[in-house]
């Protein structure tokens, strides 16, 4: 599951940021390394929620700052869902 989630999240970030998927590795910081600003951060959050049919709690949004963190968060939400 993790691998699939990771692939989808990288694809979302690539779509929103315009960066190549190859540039988006799991430990890169959204804001420092990937030039993701507040508008893109919200686009990514909304796209993740739509894609996986989950809803990220407001207090968890600030925790999504790397691909790795996003994958963990989505995995947990998917487990809770089932």
């Amino acid at each position: 599951m993790t691998e699939h989630v990771q692939k989808e999240i990288i694809s979302i970030i690539s779509e929103v940021s315009g960066l190549d998927e190859g540039e988006i590795t799991t430990d890169k910081d959204f804001f420092r390394d990937l030039e993701i600003d507040s508008i893109k951060a919200i686009e990514i959050t909304v796209a993740i929620e739509k894609k996986f049919g989950v809803s990220v709690r407001d207090e968890d949004v600030p925790k999504i700052t790397t691909v790795k963190e996003a994958v963990e968060l989505v995995n947990n939400l998917l487990i809770q869902k089932t």
Partner: protein, 473 residues
């Protein structure tokens, strides 16, 4: 070169509003062959200036924000090498909010503003906390606001409706929505970029901005066609192929960027294309933002009752912004009791604006001059006594006037209304169903004012350049 080569571009931009100009500059700077076609005889759209009887008036946009070091506007100006070409000054206070019981100035030094607010509202303990959050929000903290309204944010920090109204007033003026309908994200963006970092103005008037960008665009090798309306965007099997101008000239490009309103883009410019029903229905159900009634007043001399030139005064007759919004939406009447007033830095012209709905041409033909007279009386009675004695020129723009100069749908002042349901819709920026078509400007569901449209033009150009590089590699 053959005629065909002359009419082949790497990108065509429809509309020389600030977003189109910024986007065009970046694309041309990157070496692309770019054409901007603008229907009006000068660039700028809402960000322009006109002259009447020796007076120079800003047409609609009258100051801007996001010009601090690191602000989006500043970054764009620096990256395009324009920092020494436009003299931009910041006026202090940037804004003054006048209500029945208070007169609060919004200073460039926020410590000063916070002290002023604390003195007026000593029982509110989170004023500083609120301003700190608005002044420097982290992207992720802002993303957490995606499902909230700005009312929820204000309610978390404050209890007194008066301070909530005073802090929200400029958000209503720059976004056209009351707290209960404005998305918390949009509201906090407006607060950060317009209120905390507002009050900038270019020497010579707002036209200096589009003029300087347009000049830079041509220096980078771009072609700017003024008084050139685009009739259609051509496409072939869901890929754009160019545009045809109203004079019949066909221009080819695989990339067309529309800086005009979304209804015009999809319903008139793409009229040969069969838009899928779901999208057409969505577009038909989208609600435009409020428009404006604007008074342009020329005065004989600066006098004491006026606010300091360059500072924007906001007058509120009461504290109920929800009510002001409902009354601005009225289809039959025009409520001018809540307004913005500003003396231009040149000191001899005044701009006064009040939000109102579009109505129709007949209504404005019949009522415009009377409304202008009433507006002047209201201003005299509430903030500037003896105004009429100093008037040497007076004219008004109705929502219909705004529409006829810029073609903005219903003369909307801020593109689509920034309500939650109409917020960050990717189909209004880069539709998935037509390859090579992009939108930029305040009709994308992403933008807030000048700072917003400048960001969008910049962001779109960066993404097109990146894709172009990948495609060539």
């Amino acid at each position: 070169m053959s005629q065909t080569d002359n009419n082949l571009y790497d990108a065509i931009i429809i509309g020389a509003g600030m977003s189109g100009l910024v986007c065009g500059c970046y694309l041309a700077q990157a070496g692309m062959k770019v054409l901007i076609a603008e229907q009006h005889h000068k660039p700028g759209g809402y960000c322009s200036t006109f002259k009447r009887k020796g007076f120079t008036f800003d047409a609609a946009a009258h100051s801007f924000g996001s010009y601090r070091e690191g602000g989006n506007f500043k970054t764009v100006v620096n990256e395009l090498g324009l920092d020494h070409r436009i003299a931009i000054r910041r006026y202090d206070p940037a804004d003054i909010v006048v209500t029945p019981n208070h007169r609060i100035s919004f200073w460039n030094d926020w410590g000063k503003t916070i002290r002023e607010l604390q003195l007026a509202f000593p029982h509110e303990l989170k004023t500083k906390e609120f301003i700190s959050f608005m002044a420097d929000p982290k992207p992720a903290d802002i993303a957490a606001l995606r499902n909230q309204t700005f009312k929820e944010v204000l309610d978390r920090y404050f209890t007194d409706d008066k301070i909530k109204t005073i802090l929200f007033c400029q958000l209503f003026g720059n976004g056209g929505l009351p707290p209960s309908l404005m998305s918390a994200f949009t509201g906090s963006k407006i607060f950060t970029e317009f209120v905390v970092d507002g009050g900038y103005y270019p020497d010579g008037g707002m036209q200096a901005l589009p003029d300087t960008f347009a000049q830079r665009f041509t220096e980078f090798g771009g072609t700017l066609l003024l008084s050139s309306s685009v009739a259609i965007i051509t496409e072939d099997r869901n890929k754009v192929s160019g545009v045809v101008l109203k004079n019949g000239t066909a221009i080819r490009s695989r990339c067309v960027i529309s800086n005009c309103d979304a209804r015009q883009t999809y319903f008139s410019l793409l009229k040969g294309y069969s838009l899928n029903n779901r999208f057409a229905e969505k577009l038909n159900s989208m609600k435009p933002s409020l428009s404006m009634f604007i008074a342009y007043l020329g005065i004989d001399e600066f006098f004491d009752a006026l606010p300091q030139p360059g500072s924007t005064l906001w007058f509120l007759p009461h504290y109920n912004i929800e009510q002001m919004y409902l009354s601005a939406q009225n289809e039959y009447e025009t409520d001018l009791s809540k307004y913005l007033l500003r003396v231009s830095p040149s000191g001899n012209t005044i701009l006064a604006m009040a939000n109102t709905s579009f109505k129709n041409k007949e209504y404005w033909d019949k009522n415009k001059q009377l409304l202008l007279k009433n507006f002047i009386t209201i201003i005299e009675q509430t903030t500037v006594p003896n105004l009429s004695k100093h008037l040497r020129y007076q004219e008004a723009a109705s929502p219909y006037t705004l529409h006829s100069y810029t073609l903005n749908y219903q003369g909307a002042a801020y593109g689509w209304e920034s309500i939650k349901q109409q917020f960050l819709d990717p189909d209004f920026r880069k539709p998935t169903f037509i390859d090579g078509l992009y939108l930029t400007g305040h009709w994308t569901t992403y933008a807030q004012g000048l700072a917003g449209v400048v960001y969008l033009g910049y962001d779109l150009a960066k993404s097109i350049i990146r894709k172009d590089k990948t495609a060539r590699a």
